[in-house]
């Protein structure tokens, strides 16, 4: 017979819920406002959303040691904070992309923004918890909203993308739950720290069970982090969804996934389950290489970027596999810098988006579209070139510093071979990033009508581009402070 549970409110530590709560309230408020006030404009929604995100940010920042709360399912530790900050900042920058020059139906609807906020809540839940249930809920909340957001783009491709993403997501959810079940069955708990304790006590016996659980968890997270072989959705979904969402997907869901992966796998790796380490090693190499060589042959910039983000995620998994503090720091540093660069690149695609596919019947952004851009609009071409070189890890632009720190982490823990593979991959990668540069700078223009490229340009977008470009170019100035903060948070939360 189950004994009743008595709860002490003080022990709930509700403030820990505050960040999530703010956005939930925000979303509901937005919906209500849309009901009562007619003809509210997207600029209003956007700005409200940004405001709530900023509020949330305010609630998140301000950290003093790991805190638990709400039936101890919440764990607000360093990496949770950083992850949330990254998530929120990214969101704050991606939402305003709705203020493009041309109007899109989804951006006119309050639901879009509400869903967007719910999605953020989902991600936050994923990172602030070490309880499999809450993580699951966060995951699903986020994913479900995301599917819908994609579909709201309201084009055949968008639907196809949404359905593909959804179906695979459902399968991934199945894997996740099964893995959770196995952990639960073995340890009788759904709290990661608890599971860890029990497993370590038992020297991970029965190992096969642990491994099975890990495998399914890999399947589930692998889908979110687009690890081979669960990466197949990425290019299609990116291609199908609007550029801002695609960019968003390439940054935010992954960071959430990374945090969960850190909590789960590092526990295993560090406690010496070599099997997991080896498998991760294999996955990392496979993911980076396969994505890179496939990216070589893409005709569409967006798809190319999709593959490139896969390989970036792969190298992040490398950081998780290495699992030292430096590696985890590298992960967050890398991702912060990567976020701004990707923001820039996708915003650029968003700007040059044209209503009709003038250059290719299928693709929105075929390479040929950019040929000779330097002659038509030099500034745009130059900035795009900077983003490309930055993504390629060309010094002294943003991503290089992340890559540098990651490599250094790998080398310091004697993963020389891994480091070699990473640099070799960046050597391959530079080719497809450069392909765009070659098209923009070395080819003759197909048209001299600049307006074709600026139909979607608007001041907010330009501002965002400028900001992203600044950060990308002068990133060296932010590396030091970022490093200090991240190192402090990461190490304080024991990673």
């Amino acid at each position: 017979m189950l004994e009743p549970i008595s709860i002490n409110i003080a022990s709930l530590n509700l403030p820990a819920l505050l960040p999530m709560a703010i956005l939930v309230i925000g979303a509901l408020a937005l919906l209500v406002a849309d009901l009562v006030v007619k003809g509210l404009n997207r600029s209003f929604f956007t700005m409200i959303t940004v405001l709530f995100i900023i509020l949330d940010l305010g609630a998140v920042i301000g950290y003093n040691g790991p805190v638990r709360g709400f039936f101890d399912v919440l764990l607000v530790d360093g990496i949770a904070i950083i992850a949330q900050v990254i998530i929120l900042v990214a969101s704050a920058f991606f939402v305003p992309l709705s203020l493009s020059h041309r109007h899109f139906r989804e951006f006119e609807m309050a639901e879009f923004y509400a869903l967007f906020m719910f999605m953020i809540v989902g991600f936050q839940c994923m990172v602030v918890s070490d309880n499999l249930i809450l993580i699951f809920i966060g995951l699903e909340t986020a994913s479900l909203s995301l599917y819908t957001l994609i579909a709201m783009h309201n084009r055949m491709k968008a639907f196809e993308a949404a359905i593909k993403y959804f179906t695979m997501g459902a399968l991934a959810a199945g894997f996740y739950t099964l893995s959770a079940l196995i952990f639960y069955a073995m340890t009788g708990s759904v709290e990661i720290y608890e599971i860890e304790r029990v497993l370590v006590e038992r020297q991970f016996e029965p190992l096969l069970g642990v491994l099975a659980a890990t495998v399914f968890m890999l399947g589930a997270l692998g889908f979110k982090l687009s690890l081979v072989p669960s990466h197949t959705w990425t290019p299609d979904v990116y291609e199908g969804s609007s550029a801002p969402l695609a960019g968003y997907m390439s940054v935010v869901p992954k960071i959430a996934g990374f945090v969960v992966a850190m909590r789960l796998f590092e526990m295993l790796v560090l406690s010496g389950v070599t099997w997991v380490e080896d498998i991760l090693y294999a996955l990392v190499v496979l993911t980076m290489t396969l994505a890179n060589i496939t990216a070589l042959v893409q005709e569409d910039v967006k798809r190319m970027l999709a593959f490139s983000s896969i390989s970036h995620a792969g190298s992040m998994m490398a950081a998780i596999m290495i699992g030292t503090t430096q590696a985890n720091t590298a992960l967050f540093l890398y991702w912060t810098l990567f976020m701004f660069t990707n923001l820039g690149a996708f915003t650029m695609l968003w700007i040059v988006r044209h209503r009709k596919n003038l250059w290719d019947e299928r693709y929105q952004h075929p390479f040929s579209k950019f040929s000779g851009m330097i002659k038509i609009m030099p500034m745009t071409a130059t900035i795009m070139g900077v983003f490309m070189f930055a993504l390629a890890g060309m010094p002294p632009f943003s991503v290089f510093w992340g890559k540098l720190y990651l490599l250094s982490a790998a080398i310091n823990s004697e993963y020389i071979f891994l480091a070699l593979i990473i640099v070799l991959n960046s050597a391959i990668a530079v080719y497809y990033y450069m392909k765009l540069v070659v098209y923009m700078f070395l080819k003759e223009p197909t048209t001299d009508d600049a307006t074709l490229f600026t139909t979607n340009a608007s001041t907010p977008l330009k501002v965002i581009i400028g900001f992203a470009a600044m950060v990308t170019i002068f990133s060296i100035l932010f590396v030091e402070p970022l490093l200090n903060v991240i190192t402090k948070y990461v190490s304080s939360s024991g990673f």
């Binding site: 002659k375 050597a427 450069m434 030091e480």
Partner: protein, 508 residues
């Protein structure tokens, strides 16, 4: 004066940024002005340079990422001083001689950015920044070759970029491993070259690291068999691209050997001395023979640079002051001479739109002035005494003679083969009767071209007759470096070899 190096590095970049505002008509004047100022800055640097101090001068230090040991660390010594001047000088001359109309603005801006990267490579003492400038120098070159080159330009540009980029990534791993070692040894992070100089590295580790750095430099130099990007790059690049590529970019590789490979890994350098020397000799002979087989004037000069760089590498690995000083001087002379030769080929190409020797012949009678300057440069290139070409070649070979006289003799065939291909080129295009009608009406050099060429000729002669001020400045820093190498070498055999290589008398 204390910030002159930062000024030198970033002045061109600033000028390039502002250059966006300058309109197309006046951009050339703007560029020449900027490069002239830059050149004078470098001259001021030389004047202010204390020739009696072998260490780094005008040092600027600013910690950028203290927690990770990364800093903004500039300094110049005898080894790099003249390479900086060479860079600014060639850029100025190349810009003066520039006569491209198409998108000249973009071209000039990228040249100025390139100048920043090149100067940066030579004066930076923080390895990460060195790597950064090293990679940055590729981008403008990619654009210059790919956008203003001839028919196969895109292929050539991509090949150049990918090849050199791929070559240098291993160096990045090497750098980070060095940093790791330094951290192990001292407990603090540092990427400052002077700090690394102080570090003794175990022998086997040295071998690996040497390899990692070697590839990057070897591709850049370019050493056989990593040289095949060069003919394409030169063959397709516009004149200004070829000039800068030959005069400065190749020197980055050989500079890397002197600045990094030798002092950081003395034992490995000695250990790999023979293999490297053999490759260098192959470069000298093989490239010279390939040059002899070319039909295209520009290709001849392209391959001849490979041949000369072979002697540079040989001199660098002579492990004695004569050889290394000589090889650095040879870098300068080769920069000036090959730059001038490419410029001359460019001038004739502008007139006839062909570079094939068979399309010429008898030019000496049509364009005497052109032929004369070409002849002077040719003689400098084959290393005639009292021209700039002789000093470096003589010293490099003399230096390496101490290591092995047979190999020196083999490398010495370079002076024969060099004469062969160069004289054949000269005979086929300048001597004989004027066979092609269109050649009969060619104009001789005009004022602009002369202003670009005369300084080069003057340098060729002056530095050929009185190289002492340059040599002694280089020599001092080189000797300091050799002392350092000898001190930090971990193997006794290395110490012996370095000492022996620097003493007169004794063995055959």
């Amino acid at each position: 004066m204390e910030h002159i190096l930062s000024l030198l590095v970033f002045f061109p970049a600033m000028a390039a940024l502002l250059g966006f505002m300058v309109n197309k008509e006046s951009i050339r004047a703007y560029a020449i002005g900027v490069s002239a100022i830059e050149f004078f800055l470098s001259i001021i640097l030389w004047i202010g340079f204390d020739a009696s101090n072998a260490g780094y001068q005008f040092v600027e230090y600013f910690a950028l990422i203290p927690s990770y040991g990364m800093s903004y660390y500039l300094g110049v010594d005898g080894i790099s001083l003249f390479l900086v001047i060479l860079t600014t000088f060639t850029t100025m001359i190349a810009l003066i001689a520039l006569n491209i109309e198409k998108d000249i603005k973009n071209l000039i801006l990228s040249v100025l950015f390139l100048e920043m990267a090149m100067v940066g490579v030579f004066v930076i003492l923080d390895i990460i920044w060195f790597y950064a400038f090293w990679e940055l120098s590729l981008v403008p070159m990619l654009y210059i070759i790919g956008a203003w080159g001839s028919t196969r330009r895109v292929y050539a540009a991509i090949k150049f970029f990918l090849y050199t980029f791929a070559g240098s990534i291993l160096m990045l791993v090497g750098i980070l491993y060095m940093a790791h070692l330094y951290y192990q040894a001292t407990g603090v992070w540092s990427f400052a070259l002077p700090d690394w100089y102080m570090m003794q590295i175990p022998f086997t580790t040295q071998l690996w690291l040497f390899g990692a750095f070697f590839l990057a430099f070897a591709v850049k130099v370019p050493m056989f068999p990593f040289h095949t990007w060069l003919p394409y790059a030169h063959g397709q690049a516009p004149t200004i691209g070829s000039i800068i590529l030959a005069a400065v970019l190749l020197k980055m590789g050989s500079y890397g050997f002197v600045r990094f490979s030798l002092p950081l890994f003395p034992d490995a350098s000695v250990y790999f001395l023979m293999p490297v020397a053999i490759v260098a000799i192959i470069m000298v002979i093989y490239a010279a023979m390939v040059a002899y087989a070319q039909e295209d004037m520009k290709q001849v000069i392209a391959y001849s640079s490979i041949s000369h760089m072979g002697i540079v590498v040989l001199g660098t690995f002579a492990m004695n002051a004569e050889g290394i000083t000589g090889s650095i001087f040879l870098m300068l002379s080769h920069g000036i001479v090959s730059g001038a030769l490419f410029m001359l080929v460019g001038m004739i190409y502008d007139r006839r739109h062909t570079k094939l020797m068979k399309d010429f012949g008898g030019l000496a009678s049509v364009m005497p002035g052109f032929a004369t300057i070409y002849g002077i440069m040719l003689m400098a290139s084959v290393g005639l005494p009292l021209t700039i070409g002789f000093v470096g070649e003589f010293l490099s070979l003399a230096g390496f003679y101490r290591i092995s006289w047979v190999m020196t003799m083999l490398a010495g065939t370079g002076i024969i083969l060099g004469a062969v291909y160069m004289l054949v080129l000269y005979k086929r295009s300048f001597f004989g009767a004027v066979v092609h009608e269109e050649n009969k009406t060619l104009k001789d050099l005009n004022a602009k071209e002369l202003t670009a060429l005369i300084p080069l000729v003057a340098l060729v002669v002056i530095l050929g007759i009185y190289p002492k001020p340059v040599l002694s400045t280089i020599d001092m820093s080189v000797q300091k470096m050799l002392v350092l190498m000898e001190q930090k070498a971990v193997e006794q055999s290395t110490k012996d070899l370095i000492i022996n290589a620097n003493t007169v008398g004794g063995t055959k």
